[in-house]
Symmetry: D2
Subunit: 138 residues, 4 copies
C-alpha cells in the first residue's frame, strides 16, 4: 500500500508556499525521499536573453528538493546547493523536476534533482545537502 | 570619469528581463565586473516555512551576477553556481546583492555574490562561473 | 570496434601525471566521454580522524573526470567542481571512480563522477564543469 | 592573550593526519574559526599538463578548512565543498591557504578558503559546509 505521508507533506507545504504557488507547481508523484512535480514557463519567468531565468529553474528544483527531503515528516532545511544548466528553457515549455535521495543519515541528507522539459531535454541539474531538524512538518 | 557602459548594459538587460522585473530589482551601483542591486521581499516570495524561498534569493543573486558579468558589453552566460544560506530572509526585508569579480580570462570568469538584508545580515552567499561569448549585449 | 583514442589519451596523460601515479590509479574502462579507474587507500592517504582524506577522494574523482573529458582528444580543463561525501573510506579499501558525461557543447561539458568502495558503498559524489580548448592531447 | 586551543587542535590533528604530512603542510597562524597554513608544490603533485593537480590544491584547502572548523575543539566534518581554479600552480610554488568562517550556528558552519601562491596569485577558491558533532577533538 502506498505511504500517504509524502503526499500529505507536499499538500501541507504547498498550502503556505506562496512562491511555489506563483511558479504554478503541480503534483506528479510522491514517496519517501522522492518527489516529482511539474510547471509551465510563463513570460514573466524569462530573463533578458528571452530564456527561462536561472532563478526560476533553481527555485523549481529547490521546491522539489524540499518536498522530497521533508517527505518523511522530518522538517529539513537546505544547507547549500550546486546547479548547472545543460540547456535553455523557453516560454511555454512544461518543466518536470524529479528529486532522488542519494544518501541520508540522522542529521543530513543529499539529493539530486533533475529538471527536464516536455521532450526530456535536461534544463537544470541540481545537487543539494539538507539538515534534518528534530521537528515534524505535519 | 565613470564608465557609462555597465549602467547601459543593466538598463538594456532589465528592460526585457521580466523575472527581474517581477522580483522588483532596483539599481544601486554599476561598474566593470561589478554590480549592486536591491529588492524587497514580498509575501508571494515566501516558502512554506514563512521565510524567503531559496529560489528567490538565488534568482536575485543570479541576476546580480548576470549584470556584473555582462558589464563589459561581452555577452556572458552562467555555467554553474553554488549557494549557501547563512540566515533566513523575512517578509518586508530589503535585500541587497553585490557581485564582485574574483577572476577572469578571455573565455570564463568567476564571481562572488553576497546577499544581505537591511541590517547587513548575510542571507545568501553565491559563487558562480560564467562563459564569455563573442557577442555583445548592446 | 572499440574506439582506441580514449585509452591512448589515458595512457598519455598518466605517463606524466605524477600525482595520479602516486595515488596508484589503475585503468578499468575507457570510451568517449567516459572513464572508470580504481585505486587502493594507503595509510598515507588518511586524515587525522583515521579515514581517507577528502583531498584524496577528490583527487581520484578529478583524475577520472580529466581522463573522461579529454577522451575525445580535445584538451579540456576543469573550471570548477562540487563534492559531497556520503560515507567514509577506510585504509585498505579499493575505490572505483566512474565518470559519466551529463552534457556537452563545443565550449564546455559537465560530468558526474561517482566514487564507490569494493562493496559498492558511495564514498564521494563529484560534479564538475570543464572548458574545452582547441588543442589536442595526443 | 592568545587562545591556545586552535594551535593545540592543529598539532593534535596533524600528528595523525598522514596525508597532510605528505603534503608537507606547515603552520602559519591559528585562531577561533581561522587557519593559515603553507606548503610547497613538489614534482609528485603535478598532473599530466605539468601544473599542480586539482586534488592537491583541493586537499590543501580542505585540510585548512578542517583545522579552522575544529579550532573550537568541536569535532566537525565536511559535508560538501565547491572549488574553482583561477590560476595554475607550478612546481616549486609556495602555496598559502587561509580559511575564514563566513557563518556558523550550533549544528553547521560555512567557510571560505583561499589558496594563493608566493606572489599572492589566487590558485584555488574553496567554499565548504561542515557539520558540528557533539564530540571534542582534544
Amino acid at each position: 500500500m502506498k505511504n500517504p505521508i509524502p503526499e500529505k507533506v507536499f499538500q501541507k507545504m504547498m498550502s503556505t508556499d506562496y512562491y511555489s504557488q506563483w511558479l504554478g507547481i503541480e503534483s506528479v508523484e510522491h514517496s519517501d525521499g522522492y518527489c516529482k512535480i511539474k510547471m509551465k514557463i510563463r513570460k514573466e519567468m524569462l530573463n533578458g536573453f528571452n530564456i527561462v531565468h536561472g532563478g526560476v529553474t533553481f527555485g523549481f528544483a529547490d521546491s522539489c528538493l524540499a518536498f522530497a527531503a521533508n517527505s518523511y515528516n522530518i522538517l529539513s532545511v537546505t544547507l547549500d546547493g550546486f546547479i548547472t544548466y545543460p540547456n535553455s528553457g523557453k516560454e511555454g515549455d512544461i518543466l518536470y523536476a524529479e528529486a532522488i535521495e542519494k544518501s541520508a543519515n540522522k542529521k543530513t541528507a543529499m539529493y539530486d534533482v533533475t529538471v527536464k522539459n516536455q521532450d526530456g531535454l535536461p534544463i537544470g541539474l541540481y545537487r543539494a545537502t539538507v539538515y534534518r531538524t528534530k521537528r515534524e512538518v505535519l
